[in-house]
């Protein structure tokens, strides 16, 4: 038996023992395991599962063990993911700390910072949000104005952030702040702020979908200890760019799966609404539209796989994250547009009688999908990045 085989065997046995039965069922939105100081656990198993996995560092399987991570190799992690998949286990912890901040800390933070913050993330103790965009700095992110003044033993922070995901439910925020007003990109620093500190206030924003996953976050005379600066002073833009790559690949991944699947698949919805001629969707133009879309989706999925294979072989696809963000989100938006076309009036409900839960969810998801090509850098910004970094087209 190889070492990997015995790892698989041991993992399988451990999961059998430690993954509660209810954590092997489909996860309702309200049971998402975000963790954090304000977390509520409508299903107590959620917390048990999180703690069990965190005890092995398996909420962050590939992070170094010295910081509380699993310390697994790529191959071991693959085995772990396969075994988790085999028992249909829910994620033990979902968090921006895991997806975005953690990788950036591993690369840029001091030893003390890694010790403190990574462990908190892994154990799901602190829920993080991202303070990047500002009312006056969207696509032009580096134009941000939130100021951090050096006051000797601390920074005094003043400004306003926007589109901070779930800020009203988060504990800490990682922020881009201006520490030099005389230059643009080279005057930005990366600062960690405790949202319990005086002067931090988050207000939810109501979106077209009716949901409020984002907030405005106001920072008024917030005193931030100097040790909360990550990386060098005025070098925050480097960290910001790296973090955006994580965010972009995360959002492009959203292009797959959800939506039509809940309705039994695009083809089934089409047949239900436009009739079936044997196996075929009876309306040929609808059939072509469905096929066209499914081909695009398949092509995108293959491209994700190719990028993975090339990365493994030590080859790079260039500004791959930007390409995936652009293409993936545009495909996802087209998917919901087509799904609404197929569903007709049943996609037009807002709430109440006449529509089932899945139909209402599709309508809301359609509205939510519009943000995919805006958040994390608009499609236009992604195209700029490709034009500049991959194609070498000159600036004006």
């Amino acid at each position: 038996m190889t070492a990997l085989d015995s790892f698989r065997e041991e993992t399988r046995a451990w999961l059998e023992e430690n993954c509660p039965a209810s954590m092997r069922t489909p996860m309702p939105e309200r049971e998402m395991p975000w963790g954090g100081r304000q977390a509520k656990y409508p299903n107590p198993d959620t917390k048990v599962w999180m703690d069990n996995m965190a005890s092995r560092g398996w909420t962050a399987p590939t992070w170094p063990a010295e910081y509380g991570g699993g310390g697994l190799s790529k191959e071991e992690n693959k085995v772990l993911q396969q075994e988790l998949g085999a028992i249909k286990a829910r994620p033990a912890l979902t968090s921006f700390g895991l997806w975005m901040l953690g990788p950036a800390l591993l690369e840029f933070a001091s030893e003390e910072q890694k010790k403190k913050y990574l462990g908190e993330i892994i154990r799901g103790e602190i829920r993080w949000c991202q303070g990047y965009s500002e009312p006056g700095a969207g696509s032009d992110l580096a134009g941000l104005q939130t100021k951090a003044e050096d006051k000797g033993d601390h920074y005094l922070v003043n400004g306003q952030k926007v589109w901070t995901s779930y800020a009203d439910q988060c504990d800490w925020i990682f922020c881009l702040v201006r520490t030099d007003t005389s230059v643009k990109h080279d005057g930005i620093s990366f600062l960690l702020i405790d949202m319990d500190d005086a002067g931090v206030e988050a207000r939810p924003i109501k979106l077209i979908s009716g949901a409020s996953p984002f907030c405005e976050t106001f920072l008024t005379d917030v005193k931030v200890p100097k040790e909360n600066l990550v990386g060098d002073l005025n070098k925050g833009w480097t960290i910001a760019k790296r973090l955006l790559e994580h965010e972009r690949s995360m959002i492009s991944g959203m292009g797959m799966g959800a939506g039509a699947a809940s309705m039994g698949g695009m083809e089934a919805v089409a047949k239900e609404n436009f009739g079936a001629d044997g196996e075929k969707i009876a309306d040929s133009s609808i059939r072509q539209a469905v096929a066209d879309h499914k081909m695009d989706q398949q092509a995108f999925g293959l491209t994700l796989k190719r990028a993975e294979a090339e990365a493994k072989a030590g080859q790079g696809m260039g500004a791959a994250a930007s390409m995936f963000k652009y293409y993936g989100t545009e495909v996802n938006k087209r998917r919901f547009e087509l799904l609404l076309d197929l569903m007709g009036t049943q996609a037009l409900g807002w709430e109440g009688e006449g529509f089932d839960k899945r139909e209402l969810a599709v309508t809301r998801s359609w509205l939510r999908s519009k943000g995919n090509s805006i958040e994390g850098g608009t499609s236009e910004v992604q195209l700029n990045v490709i034009a500049k970094r991959v194609l070498g087209l000159p600036d004006a």
Binding site: E267, A270, K271, E279, K280, I281, S284, R287, Q288, V290, A291, D292, K294, M295, D296, Q298, A299, F300, L302, T303, K305, R306, A309, E310, K312, A313, Q315, M317, M323, Y326, Y327, E380, Q382, L383, N384, I386, A387, K388, V390, L391, G392, L393, P394, D395, A396
Partner: protein, 379 residues
Amino acid sequence: MAFVLTEEQTMLKDMAKDFFTEQVPVANLRKLRDAEDADGYDKAVWKQIVELGFAGILIPEEHGGTGFGPMGLGIVMKEAGRTLAASPLYSTAVLGAGLIMAAGSDEQKGALLPKIAAGETLTALALEETNHHNPLNTAMTAEKSDDGFTLTGDKKFVIDGHIANTLIVVARTGGAAGDAQGLSMFLVDAKADGVSITRNHMVDSRNAASIGFANVQVSADAVLGSLGGAYAELESSLDLARVCLAAEMLGGAETVFDTTLEYLKERKQFGVIIGTFQALKHRAAELFCEVEICQSVLLDALSALEDRRNDTPRAASLAKARVGDALRLITNEGVQMHGGIGMTDAVDVGLFMKRARVQAQMLGDTNFHRARYADLGGY
């Protein structure tokens, strides 16, 4: 799944790239066109292609080939597409070798494959009868005669039809147009009595012919594959050819994209390089994404063929359709971004756009393959 080329495949690619770039540049096609060359291909170039082993790239070594398989063939076709290289590669090394390997008897393989690999026999597939590719709609008949069959009917859009020695003819020995049952294939000598071949001058300056069959007599051993049941063998070979065609098309798309990008970096208007304009930058970036997406579907389709995967037909239709869409966009944008000069015969981009139109129609256009993709997906 092979998304990354092996060392051996990379060497093949480099060799093919050097060869086509240096020995068969686009100027070669212009020369054939302007000289109104009767054959429409350069015999000296074909000889070199044969010597490099490309004619027999699909053919196993026991039959005189190099046995590189579908992936190797796709790699070569892509490089040929980059320079619009006019040669019998597609008609003979892809379709001819593919069909005979898939459907031929041991005798037929032994007789024909070594000659194909040696470049001595050129083949052409006589399949199309209507304006749109649809093998099931074949109406041409082959009637049983005393010691063989009598072929009667008309074929069109036969690629390399006027230079081939051996025609592979699809005809009905049963059933009616629309039926899969009753289709058969025949090996017919191009010089046989009753065969009349007319070369068609195509918009891409490449070879195609219309061929009439008037009571053409063939013997029983001219049947290629199973009598009345050749549809499956035909389709699997067509899928190979569709993917190789997609490879050739993507090669063309890459060249047009590269040259257009170069042009954006050197052309000045309003006192600045036009590549600084965001309207053009975004379109160029979109074309880049198209090329990348197409690389993925092409490599997947080639590995499907290589590994004889069950979903090969779907992968082939995906490749032909998706690359077809991208090539149309890229050649049209290429002409547009070149501006007035793009309308002239002096630059190559127009040649690629004309070739793209022909390639789109070969073995099924995007509409055909979208519908087929849906069929195979069960919807």
